[in-house]
Symmetry: C2
Subunit: 342 residues, 2 copies
Amino acid sequence: MERKKPISLKDLAIELGVSISTVSRGLKNSPEIGIEMRDKIKALAKKRNYRPNPFAMSLLKNSPRIIGIIVPDIVTHYYSSIISGISDVARLNGYSTIITSSYEQYELEKNCLEDLINIRVEGVIACLSQQTTDYTHFEVLKEQNIPLVFFDRICLKNKFSSVITNNVESAQMATEHLLKTGSKRIGFIGGANHLEIVKQRKHGYLQALRDHKIPIEKELVFCERITYQAGYKGACQLLSLPNRPDAILGMTDSLAFGAMKAIKEHNLRIPEDVALIGYTDELHSDYVDPPLTAVTHQTYKMGETIGQLLLKQIKGSNKVEQLVVPCILSIRKSSIKNIYDY
Amino acid sequence: MERKKPISLKDLAIELGVSISTVSRGLKNSPEIGIEMRDKIKALAKKRNYRPNPFAMSLLKNSPRIIGIIVPDIVTHYYSSIISGISDVARLNGYSTIITSSYEQYELEKNCLEDLINIRVEGVIACLSQQTTDYTHFEVLKEQNIPLVFFDRICLKNKFSSVITNNVESAQMATEHLLKTGSKRIGFIGGANHLEIVKQRKHGYLQALRDHKIPIEKELVFCERITYQAGYKGACQLLSLPNRPDAILGMTDSLAFGAMKAIKEHNLRIPEDVALIGYTDELHSDYVDPPLTAVTHQTYKMGETIGQLLLKQIKGSNKVEQLVVPCILSIRKSSIKNIYDY
DNA sequence: AAATAGAACGCAAACCTTTGCGCTATCTCG
DNA sequence: CGAGATAGCGCAAAGGTTTGCGTTCTATTT
């Protein structure tokens, strides 16, 4: 049960009794070919269901019109939505995409990159794995002049372009939203302190407090891990303080949902007793009770931006640039104590 | 800023002053090549960072070791998780994957398939778009002897293999779980009646009732659309009945979450007043209050199964088979009225 | 009528790799 | 010492497409 050999220009040429070049030119409307000949060629090509062999073309032109993507995983909505945006702009520009996944592992990330280079993609888009601290494997791309765009978790800023979100500003914005809607003492639940994203969002939170001349209290900040359980634990700790906060900013969706559970178990009302705000881009926020106010990533738009930036570089630009796709605040019920102040 | 031409066997051959064939054989440890020659070749290949050109190989062998995937969308967790499973088995077998998305549109689905055939993938995996009712575009694959495996939403059962879940049995299982844990009158919220998935799950629900000699009441079944809003509306309608149900089976996660909202707004307790059970494979279920019992798809495993089945066909099997990857019941708090009966 | 133009098409190289076969030394054995 | 074996390497074709250039007619111009 062998796979049937696809028919080639040569097959058509033989059947028509002309040369391969004539067939090739006929199919692309070259003026050098007579009209009736051209029509005969096209008719036969259609009849035989001819499809140009992309490998021959790639071999000839050395440009397969494929872009490679490396993400930590494809299952997380954040990444899949970004991929969706990238794929769409790629497709609209005649490019295919190959998606690879590092599973947050340094070694696999290196493998992914190797594979993509071997396939000779025209450009690469990457989000670093959490494990990655050595970035030399990406330098190869510079040597071979293959464009690369980082997003979200980036590195080698002076060599490669990147697209990021405004983590500092968004956390600041979220904190100010709480202050404007009646919250006075705001707790912050983050993740491991060495992560860039934690630093930035905490920085935004602190900045907002400073701007409003609110004294910073260390015990209002809980940073451990980015999990549902840690969110629960952090909120329990904050709520057990002698002078508990009246609002909590959860640095990711899982942290916020964990916190929500803790608040409810303490028989406190949201947002009247404790206002809550999270980060997410999924539907969860609307499903929980009360609906969760959250900083929302514009993931699809981010994907589009990334794709366009890479295509620009493939087409010749070698400017190193950093673009920012801002978050927006999706205001729901969980954050607003006092609608009048807002 | 032209892309640097990758170096070829020819380049190495010239630099070493030997023939191309010698270099080729040297790199693959052919016994025909002398040891010192071989080592010299390998050393230079490494130094110049030589990578075999995959297009030349594909051209030669007519097998690019790529499999194509068509899904309705990549953002939904269900699909992205399945894709993840497929990709992993593909990668472990030396295959790459190209993922395309039909966006639930018939025309785009046709385009995706065209593209994949043009790329000359060795096999195709597809889940039909909701719009698709004409299946002739897939017949081309049969003509060209390109293996195809359908999953979830399938067609042309006698021609192509497929992997599905046990919709009937899982709904039956869920219903029986409710009966065993103390529920007496169970409502069902589904989607548009013409969808296969709705028919099957409703069938399973009804079957369980019949098995338990429970009379079927038409007003306990609400089928409109598969949305959060429809779930809310359906539950409101069920709860307004003079003799309201004491349990609800939501046929998808969004339906179940909508129903949960309605139940809470009616000031009824879950599961004491109304037990609730849904379908989902995401984290939501643990985040809501109370945690939602749900029929869970084994999405990753399903992806693995699909991938293995396709690879089997690529390797020569032409048996048409249908595999079933069963759902499992993830029992949480929302469904259990009476722990003792259970 | 002769010359020239131009239309219509074929030849062959190039892209890169694999592989069957042919070639040339060197070696071994009788 | 001569004959056959063998190690070590090169030649060339194949796979499908594009494209510059060469070739062959026919038709137009002078």
